[in-house]
């Protein structure tokens, strides 16, 4: 059946047009053609520009308001293809594969602001603007390929096919408490030659797909991808004039160009220039991860864009509707709560809609399972930067139907002084990166005194911060991309970021790290043995704590960045996963696999509700009890702590678990721990002892040897022991 709206109503030059539909925003394939829709509150005029892929100048400039020819009657007609503040038209008989498009916006009645000077409106009819809703973006199709700097239109909107055969894929919907999260960088994962993947795949979505068996074996069930939407790796890049190589690039990608398009440079198919293939490639990766029981979470950056401040490039948003998209001072300067130049005006109703559209888009079109919001506290600020008690955006996201089963995680601070760990507006849905957990574990690990109390909170999933919300509000971590790797945390007292060319001024100073007696690489076997032990200690403490654990890509093989705790700009070995370490540090990798397996095997570690420290089921033991070197007596002032979990207290839906006893000795010398007595018929087995060398450091579930002395366990200096109490 032929639709009425597959026929043009007007002609502009040879282009066949008709009034468009405002929804969805962006470019959409419709029967017979393409619908374009773009919003601007303050633009008076808008034109659509069409380019042949890669060409500098547009081959067509079609106004949304202007003098066209009517198809019926062949007479001129003044046309206004606009509904409210949305410019929208449909172009018929046009092939979307070969074109790139953009917009030109202007309001001649408003004062144009100058580059480098404050101002409210930044319309510039000389600029081509990328579509904020572009589902594919060209211009950086191959990572690191030098662009033509004189090209007037850098980041170019493209139109993609959105059909994809998911073959019945559905989000795994793994319960939050059962997640073990792996924070990964797509390029870094397989870019190193040692990855063994084909050159064409190295550093791409497909490269990551090749390594899924590794992830499965490691035992993680959720991968959190550092930014994968389109960003510009050349932003703030720096070239060494002598060698011609780039010594600094925007490698981590915390600077959004487009919220709806996957980064072409992360796709092996990016070089084809075909953005549909890029989308297909990412979807194929996600489909394969889901098939292997691994959820996918995206690190999303809605706090600022790549446009910077009044000295930054005009890519899209500022040229389309500057005061809508950005928080501006009363003089027209850009508020800078992100530390990067501008701040997205997230609680403005229009921007709020865009953020919601973007998240819904990733959840529905890419089957994404969750989102981690970078500098999340910005999302709670109003248009003037003031923190709100009830931020509309956060509330909207928490209650949105499409996002209803997505995990929502906030980095609960920003660069403007807001720190909301424990107080982020949650609406019962949001979880937080628990920075206090990180600091507590690190300090306890290095033997700081008086940390036992804080540790007991972390172990319980931080009820001091999240009472009423449960442990799953707490994302527990010791390391993430910001800061030291786990190995460096036990090998360096201070940061060494000289390679960042900022005089070692960048990066955090409060690392709470301890180098085990020597700064940097060491040949001393005692130092290295201690480091290996400390790494295992940190992971053990993380995995036995209530809450949701997250580990950093590379920590499982002891990756080092030589003390650089802020490698945002390095596209090199500093950031690339070295696969030879899986052999070299195979014992460490084995430990990680088994400690993660331990967590999966014991539901008692994965409560949805906070432990009560009481025996409310009358079993003879409270759900959790605290001990020291003496059973039933904890020393809250020292650097030694033990706890006992009662396996009867599993959540509904699980069979009763073992008793689990964990002794954490952060004192420098060995200490005997009196082990609590078990009910009759139960006996203690040794599951983990970081004081022993592999393979006695950890045993697979079911293979734990009986404890020789059922009343006592000797924990070596700076070691952690886990005992499981089981019937025979």
């Amino acid at each position: 059946m032929d639709r009425i709206d597959a026929h043009p109503t007007h002609l502009f030059q040879e282009y066949k047009l008709r009034p468009g539909k405002p929804y969805p925003f962006g470019a959409t394939l419709v029967p017979g053609g393409i619908n374009f829709s773009v919003f601007s509150r303050n633009a008076g005029y808008c034109s659509l520009l069409l380019y042949r892929k890669g060409e500098r100048e547009p081959y067509a400039v079609i106004p949304f308001r202007g003098l066209f020819m009517k198809v019926c009657g062949n007479e001129p007609d003044w046309v206004d293809f606009r509904i409210g503040n949305v410019f929208t038209m449909t172009i018929l008989d046009i092939d979307h594969e070969e074109i790139e498009y953009g917009f030109r916006m202007d309001n001649p009645a408003l004062q144009h602001s100058e580059y480098g000077k404050p101002g409210f409106f930044r319309f510039d009819p000389g600029k081509t603007l990328m579509d904020p809703y572009a589902k594919g973006i060209g211009g950086r199709d191959e990572w690191g390929r030098e662009p033509d700097w004189t090209d007037p239109y850098w980041h170019r909107s493209r139109i993609i096919f959105d059909d994809f055969d998911w073959e019945g894929d559905r989000p795994p919907e793994i319960p939050m408490e059962d997640l073990v999260i792996y924070e990964a960088h797509v390029r870094g994962f397989t870019r190193h030659a040692s990855s063994g993947v084909k050159d064409f795949w190295a550093g791409t979505f497909t490269g990551m797909r090749e390594k899924i068996p590794y992830l499965k074996e490691l035992g993680i069930n959720c991968i959190e991808l550092m930014p994968i939407y389109e960003f510009d790796e050349f932003e703030h890049s720096k070239r060494d004039e002598a060698t011609g190589k780039y010594v600094k690039m925007n490698y981590w990608g915390y600077s959004t160009v487009g919220f709806f398009a996957p980064k072409a440079g992360f796709a092996a198919t990016g070089s084809t220039g075909d953005s549909s293939m890029v989308a297909d490639e990412l979807k194929t990766l996600i489909k394969e991860l889901h098939r292997n029981g691994i959820e996918v979470m995206l690190d999303v950056v809605f706090n600022h864009t790549a446009e910077g401040n009044e000295f930054g490039p005009t890519i899209s948003y500022r040229g389309i509707d500057n005061p809508t998209y950005y928080m501006l001072t009363s003089e027209g300067y850009y508020y800078n709560f992100s530390g990067t130049g501008n701040t997205l005006n997230c609680n403005n109703p229009i921007v709020r809609t865009m953020v919601l559209d973007a998240l819904r888009f990733w959840a529905s079109e890419y089957h994404i399972d969750g989102f981690r919001f970078d500098l999340g506290s910005i999302l709670s600020r109003d248009a003037f930067g003031a923190p709100m008690a009830n931020p509309p955006l956060l509330e909207t996201l928490a209650f949105d139907p499409v996002l209803g089963k997505c995990k929502l995680i906030a980095e609960a601070w920003d660069a403007g002084g807001l720190y909301q760990v424990g107080s982020f507006p949650a609406y019962g849905r949001w979880a937080e990166w628990n920075g206090k957990c990180r600091d507590t574990i690190r300090r306890f690990l290095k033997g700081d005194s008086g940390m036992a109390g804080a540790m007991s909170q972390v172990i319980q999933g931080s009820p001091n911060l999240y009472a009423g919300r449960g442990p799953t509000a707490s994302i527990n971590f010791v390391t993430c991309h910001d800061g030291f790797t786990l190995y460096d945390m036990v090998a360096y007292n201070g940061k060494h970021n000289e390679a960042n060319l900022e005089n070692n001024q960048d990066g955090a100073n409060d690392n709470n790290s301890w180098n085990c007696g020597w700064e940097g690489e060491s040949t001393d076997p005692t130092v290295n043995a201690l480091r290996r032990r400390q790494i295992r200690n940190a992971m053990t403490m993380l995995m036995v704590s209530q809450g949701v654990p997250m580990i950093l890509q590379g920590d499982e093989v002891g990756s080092t960045k030589y003390g650089n705790n802020n490698t945002y700009c390095h596209d090199n070995e500093l950031n690339w996963f070295d696969w030879s370490l899986t052999e070299k540090n195979s014992e460490l990798l084995r430990f990680f696999r088994l400690i993660i397996a331990f967590r999966h095997a014991h539901p008692i570690l994965r409560h949805r509700h906070h432990l009560r420290n009481r025996d409310w089921k009358n079993t003879g033991y409270a759900d959790i009890t605290w001990h020291g070197t003496e059973a039933w007596h904890a020393d809250w002032n020292g650097n030694v702590l033990a706890f006992l979990l009662n396996g009867q207290y599993v959540e509904e839906g699980h069979d009763p678990d073992d008793f689990i006893y964990v002794a954490m000795n952060m004192h420098w010398d060995a200490l005997p721990f009196e082990v609590p007595m078990l009910p009759p018929e139960y006996r203690w087995r040794m599951a983990v002892n970081t004081g022993m060398d592999a393979p006695e450091d950890i045993f697979a579930p079911g293979e734990e040897p009986l404890l020789e002395d059922q009343q006592q366990v000797l924990a070596g200096g700076r070691s952690v022991c886990i005992l499981v109490g089981r019937k025979n």
């Binding site: 502009f12 008076g44 308001r65 202007g66 003098l67 001129p76 030109r104 202007d106 001649p108 009645a109």
Partner: protein
């Protein structure tokens, strides 16, 4: 500020309309009257001298469209010495394809019909 406008019928049927000030919804009818006069005088070409025009709103654009429609496709419309804001407005609506824009008055081009 309002609009100052005048019409001069020159040789060869060239109608010269000079506009100064602001062309918006309020002042557009004056422009419209001059166009209608030019048509009555059987204008074969319309030359708009816009050196003094500081602002053109969409109402002004509609007048250009009106002129185009009424005069017919064989009659060229010249837009001469338009200021930046006016040029932008004309370009953004694609009207630059329907009129001939000149930076300065080129008598040879304009007056030879």
């Amino acid at each position: 500020m309002s609009l100052e406008s005048s019409l001069e019928m020159a040789a060869n049927g060239v109608a010269k309309i000079t506009l100064s000030g602001k062309l918006d919804a309020g002042t557009a009818p004056e422009f419209q009257q001059l166009i209608e006069q030019a048509i009555e005088n059987k204008a074969k070409r319309l030359a708009l001298l816009l050196g003094g025009l500081t602002f053109m709103a969409s109402a002004g654009l509609r007048m250009l469209v009106f002129a185009k429609q009424r005069l017919g496709s064989e009659v060229d419309i010249y837009v001469i010495e338009a200021q930046e804001q006016v040029v932008e407005t004309i370009n953004m609506t694609g009207l630059n394809y329907s009129v001939i824009m000149l930076d300065s008055y080129d008598a040879a081009a304009v007056e030879t019909v």
